[in-house]
């Protein structure tokens, strides 16, 4: 045994990156495990019930998964792991939901499983009649709720009941972009993701999640799915900026025209054959405490609902989604990991993972930019040291974040990347305003009207504005295709997604060397370093190379 994989008794897998069989092993284990961290030398994966059920739904058997483990293992695969993998995978498919002329019914693989479900108060409450042998009639309205209850029993259901009739809508993909005229087609992995999701229109397809890294074109996969389904579509995303980005992309790359696309947001309430909305507005409650905008789901006979950044899906939308099981559902995300650990709800209600492409393989193929992360440590000016030393923790962080000597380093970096499109991202508005004033660069903060923001984004895209100073409003779903440098002058270590999103701003493929640079400016020997340490850890565990530099190390 000399493979690159160490299989641990706790179901984690350690994969040696430098091993000649790394890529083969990675591609195989990726199908039934989820990546936990991917620092330079050894990547950690974890096999969970969900990852194994995702694999089972893609047709991977226990023998297949164990065969892959054994083929690549450096040491013997622990016996408990073998047993557990078998037990978990065998649970998938022990319950099936189907449909006949009389409606929906559930079938259990054996009497024990049926007894288990029948004994569960919640699951059995969705039965229309007592079980007859291994079969029981279920209430179609509660198909999603039943699937959630079955997940609680660790019995993932295979849903073959299919979908209802939807309002048709012809959606085609353009051969060239409307805005630039440049040729357009789906990349191989995007097409594969669409095909795996759609499954030639069969009942076992049409619901599930596609996992692609930031910058890999999740929106385009969504458009590919829309073309396949060719029905009226509701797209739910994270912010109004993202809504408009979707609209711009649909107009640019599909046959849809403006009159067919609606924006349903806090500002505009259009309901059209393709409607784009936000999770925020759908979660909004009126004075009576009701979700006033849930009616959007019933306004049209949607054939497809797309959940953009599905890991952000809020609880109220989950509840609603449970009742939308007769609609095709597509989740798009860069990570299945949720801060609230509700991955099993995503599995039960949206569907299993249909496709995941490791970002490293996309980077190798040039589909996303190679990101270089650097932390630059800048000493605090001597005259600020006493003020820093005598401040409390919170003020210490602020003083360090607003270290005025960072300005000098920003200028050095602008000089270094003078032909680049540079984003300067920060936490403190006063600091950002000072930087913007010093550099005579435009600034985008939360208080800037959306229209003005759009104008600045467009100018940045065209290259008319090479440097843009942005507050954290730029974290999510803005598409800045030509940004190749991000300089973070201050920031807190927020959620894992926020950090990934921040870096994601610069990951889209670049012309030329296809490189992107992420700089974090940090005050040396200060509390800011602790936070930088967390960020460093996160980015390293995502697999990005990370170096620590002194000011003197910056070569212009």
């Amino acid at each position: 045994m000399s493979g690159p994989l160490i299989v641990q008794g706790d179901m984690t897998l350690l994969l040696e990156v430098g091993h000649p069989d790394f890529e083969t092993a990675r591609d195989e284990i990726n199908a039934f495990s989820e990546i936990v961290k991917s620092p330079e030398y050894m990547h950690t994966y974890r096999m969970t019930p969900l990852s194994l059920w995702n694999a089972a739904s893609a047709g991977i058997s226990a023998d297949g998964a164990l065969g892959a483990l054994e083929a690549h293992a450096k040491h013997a695969v622990p016996e408990n792991v073998k047993t557990r993998v078998r037990q978990i995978i065998e649970r998938y498919g022990s319950v099936e939901i189907d449909k006949d002329d009389e409606g929906l019914f559930l079938t259990a693989k054996d009497e024990f499983t049926m007894a288990l479900i029948n004994a569960d108060e919640k699951a059995s409450s969705y039965f229309l009649s007592p079980p007859e042998g291994l079969k029981v009639r279920i209430d179609g309205h509660y198909r999603g709720h039943l699937k959630q209850a079955l997940m609680d029993l660790q019995l993932p259901a295979q849903d073959h009941a299919g979908f209802g009739e939807a309002a048709p809508l012809t959606i085609g993909l353009r051969e060239s972009c409307a805005s630039s005229g440049s040729p357009f087609s789906l990349r191989g992995y995007q097409q594969e993701a669409v095909d795996l999701f759609y499954a030639s229109g069969k009942a076992h397809g049409g619901h599930g999640v596609i996992v692609l890294p930031c910058g890999a074109g999740k929106t385009i996969v969504g458009m590919g799915a829309m073309e396949k389904v060719s029905a009226e579509t509701l797209v739910l995303t994270t912010s109004i900026t993202a809504v408009r980005q979707w609209i711009a992309e649909l107009l640019d790359k599909t046959s849809l025209t403006e009159d067919l696309i609606g924006e349903y947001s806090g500002e505009i309430k259009q309901i059209r054959p393709v409607t784009i909305s936000t999770y925020q507005i759908l979660s909004h409650r009126n004075a009576q405490g009701d979700n006033a905008h849930f009616s959007l789901f019933d306004e049209r006979n949607w054939g497809l609902i797309i959940y953009d950044e599905v890991h952000m899906l809020p609880a109220p939308v989950f509840r609603m989604t449970a009742e939308l099981q007769s609609k095709r559902r597509l989740g798009l995300t860069a990570t299945l990991v949720r801060e609230d650990d509700r991955q099993s709800d995503v599995f039960a209600l949206i569907g299993p993972k249909r496709c995941e492409v490791p970002w490293k393989s996309l980077e190798e193929k040039g589909f996303i930019a190679k990101a270089k992360c650097s932390e630059i440590r800048i000493p605090l000016p001597v005259d600020m040291k006493m003020a820093y030393a005598t401040s409390d923790k919170k003020d210490k962080f602020r003083i360090a974040s607003e270290n005025p000597d960072k300005m000098h380093v920003i200028k050095l970096l602008l000089e270094k990347h003078k032909d680049g499109n540079i984003l300067i991202i920060g936490q403190y508005i006063s600091q950002l305003k000072a930087i913007a004033a010093e550099l005579e660069a435009p600034i985008i903060t939360g208080s800037l009207a959306n229209k003005k923001r759009e104008l600045l984004y467009s100018s940045f895209k065209r290259g008319d504005t090479p440097v843009l100073v942005v507050s954290k409003v730029a974290n999510f779903a803005i598409d800045l295709p030509d940004a190749n440098v991000a300089i973070e002058v201050s920031g807190t270590f927020g959620s894992r997604q926020e950090e990934a999103q921040r870096l994601g701003r610069i990951l889209r493929p670049k012309e030329g060397d296809n490189e992107a640079h992420f700089y974090a400016l940090v005050t040396k020997d200060s509390r800011e370093e602790d936070f930088a340490g967390n960020r460093q850890l996160f980015l390293i565990e995502q697999g990005y190379p990370y170096e620590i530099l002194e000011v003197a190390d910056i070569s212009v």
Binding site: I6, V7, Q8, G9, D10, T12, L14, G18, K37, P39, E40, Y41, M42, K74, H75, P78, E375, D525, R527, D530, Q536, L537, I540, E541, P545, Y546, E547, I548
Partner: protein, 570 residues
């Protein structure tokens, strides 16, 4: 007794044959001298020429020749039983009714007048000079062992390759510093915990296969043997009521398995303070000058004549040991007595000694053992005994039977590259020959996040480095260790962080100093300018504060909680 002494003690016409110098001369075919001095001189000349001794041996009748062979083969320890057995074999009858005779006296009594053998026993014993010659002439004692078939009601303990259990034991002790009893054994509770974690087979001295039923750790045959070996090799130490990692641990744990077994075995063999008798209920050496290491070396010689790789009956081995060197232990340890004071024989001493010896070898993976149970002769209680054993290949290597292992011993052995330092500050130590050494090093100050059969993982953190500094491990030392043994290049961010920590680590210290105190700074300045004073003053205390001695620990913790290293230099 030397030859000269023996000859000088003999009389020209002694009372017994073996005291009669004239008869000795006759037996040797030397012309009878007129004076004792001449006789001694003639006999010395006779013995000086080894061919004379050889000729004398070759001319012996079969019975005498067999006696001489048996005597030499037993290391000059033939016993009366053997003499009588050979006499019976050769149809020789003892006519004398003398009692309380030595085996050699018994032999001469059997000879009924023949005196040829007298050449070999001047003054009743075989002097070293003659023994040395005879050892080369007489055929060696053949170690013949029959085939052994294990029976189902016995417990087989096979431990080839399990010397790593002892490394695991050291790690366990390092982590837990368990309490120990007066004899250096960890408490039963810890022994059970360790044995369960390690998952090896053990049994009680009573023969029970569940060691939970043992009254104490000493009754767990393999566990107690491992502890004895670990203590003897200084892998662990026990003091002030608890066990901790020993001074020799780093070196021992860095060795490959076969070398580790060899090192531990040799350390045990040389351990003067350990007595196998402490493992045998009720026995103690009469002499305070017992040389246990010498006895072990003799036991090793006996064992090295056994075959490896196949089971042999302990009974047959014991018989062989008895014939080959029945005094192997007694010669160095002296008389061994029971608690109530009477000297015990082979069954109670040497036979039990060999059982302890094989148990230790079994713990080291040098021997596999098969244990059965019987009622004790003394107490009637159930006791486990070795029914059979076999030397393993590593046992054969250590004893020098199989021609040695491909791995050679190296005093300067250093751990091999066996871990990876990841840029996220994780250190992954993979299963390898060096794993135990690296584990030991890191576990002294780092937090272990994973321990699996195949890998251990640690996190390099500020807190860990602060612990390292407290235990005298400098950050530079850690950086050097990581750079030296990491299989992959040390990530630049980790290396940079270590440099930063190193830079920051000496900045805050709590240390003891004497101060000269003045009421105000002017007075201090005045003192400083006084003639003969300035040379006596050290650095003026700058950024320093007076603290209460009782607050040192609290202060250090508080400073470290705020992310700054603080050295205690008191």
């Amino acid at each position: 007794m030397s030859l000269s002494t023996a000859l000088s003690k003999m009389e020209m016409d002694g009372y017994f044959k073996y005291e009669n110098l004239s008869l000795l001369c006759q037996a040797a075919g030397v012309e009878e001298p007129s004076t004792k001095e001449e006789a001694i001189s003639s006999m010395k000349a006779f013995y000086k020429d080894a061919s004379n001794i050889k000729s004398a041996y070759l001319s012996l009748p079969p019975f005498e020749s067999d006696i001489i062979n048996a005597h030499v083969q037993s290391g000059c320890c033939i016993d009366a039983k053997a003499v009588n057995a050979l006499a019976e074999k050769h149809g020789v009858k003892n006519v004398s009714k003398m009692y309380f005779v030595t085996p050699i006296e018994l032999f001469f009594n059997h000879l009924q007048g023949s005196a040829l053998s007298l050449v070999f026993f001047p003054y009743g014993a075989m002097p070293k000079e003659i023994f040395d010659v005879m050892k080369k002439i007489t055929p060696p004692l053949k170690a013949v062992f029959s085939e052994y078939e294990p029976t189902s009601d016995c417990v087989t303990i096979e431990r080839e390759g399990r010397v790593s259990d002892i490394a695991f034991l050291a790690r366990y002790i390092n982590k837990t510093s368990p309490p120990v009893t007066a004899n250096g054994m960890v408490t039963k509770q810890h022994a059970l915990k360790f044995a369960a974690a390690c998952g090896y087979k053990d049994l009680c001295q009573s023969g029970a296969t569940s060691i939970a039923s043992a009254r104490s750790t000493s009754q767990m045959i393999i566990t107690s043997s491992m502890l004895i070996l670990a203590l003897a090799s200084k892998l662990i130490a026990a003091d002030s009521g608890s066990a901790y990692i020993g001074p020799g641990a780093s070196k021992v744990l860095s060795l490959p398995n076969a070398e580790m077994a060899k090192h531990i075995f040799e350390a045990y063999e040389d351990a003067a303070s350990f007595s196998e008798l402490s493992c045998i209920k009720g026995l103690k050496a009469k002499s305070k000058r017992a040389k246990f290491p010498e006895a072990r070396k003799e036991a090793r010689l006996i064992l090295s004549n056994c075959p490896s790789g196949r089971y042999i009956k302990f009974k047959e081995f014991e018989e062989y040991a008895y014939k080959a060197n029945r005094m192997f232990a007694r010669r160095h340890i002296g008389a061994v007595v029971k608690n109530y004071g009477y000297e015990v024989g082979w069954e109670a001493f040497e036979s039990k000694y060999l059982t302890v010896y094989l148990s230790l070898l079994c713990a080291l993976g040098m021997a596999d053992t098969i244990w059965c149970t019987r009622a004790s002769d003394y107490s009637g209680e159930s006791e486990a005994y070795i029914e059979a054993f076999r030397l393993t290949s590593s046992g054969a290597f250590v004893l020098g039977i199989a021609g040695g292992s491909p791995m050679s011993a190296n005093e300067d052995y250093e751990p091999k590259n066996g871990f990876v330092v990841q840029p996220n500050f994780e250190i992954l130590v993979e299963e390898s020959e060096s794993r135990a050494a690296h584990d030991l090093y890191f576990s002294r100050f780092l937090d272990k996040i994973v321990e699996d059969d195949a890998i251990s993982a640690y996190t390099l953190s500020f807190e860990g480095m602060a612990r390292g500094l407290d235990s005298g491990i400098s950050i530079e030392e850690v950086a050097t260790y990581l750079a030296k043994y990491s299989s992959k290049p040390l990530p630049s961010n980790v290396s940079r962080q270590l440099q930063d920590w190193s830079r920051l680590s000496g900045r805050i210290a709590v240390r003891k100093v004497l101060v000269i105190e003045a009421d105000d700074e002017y007075l201090l300045e005045e003192i400083k300018t006084m003639k003969g004073v300035s040379d006596l003053l050290g650095k003026q205390l700058g950024p320093s504060c007076v603290i209460a001695p009782s607050d040192v620990g609290k202060l250090k913790k508080a400073i470290e909680k705020n992310g700054k290293f603080c050295m205690e230099e008191l």
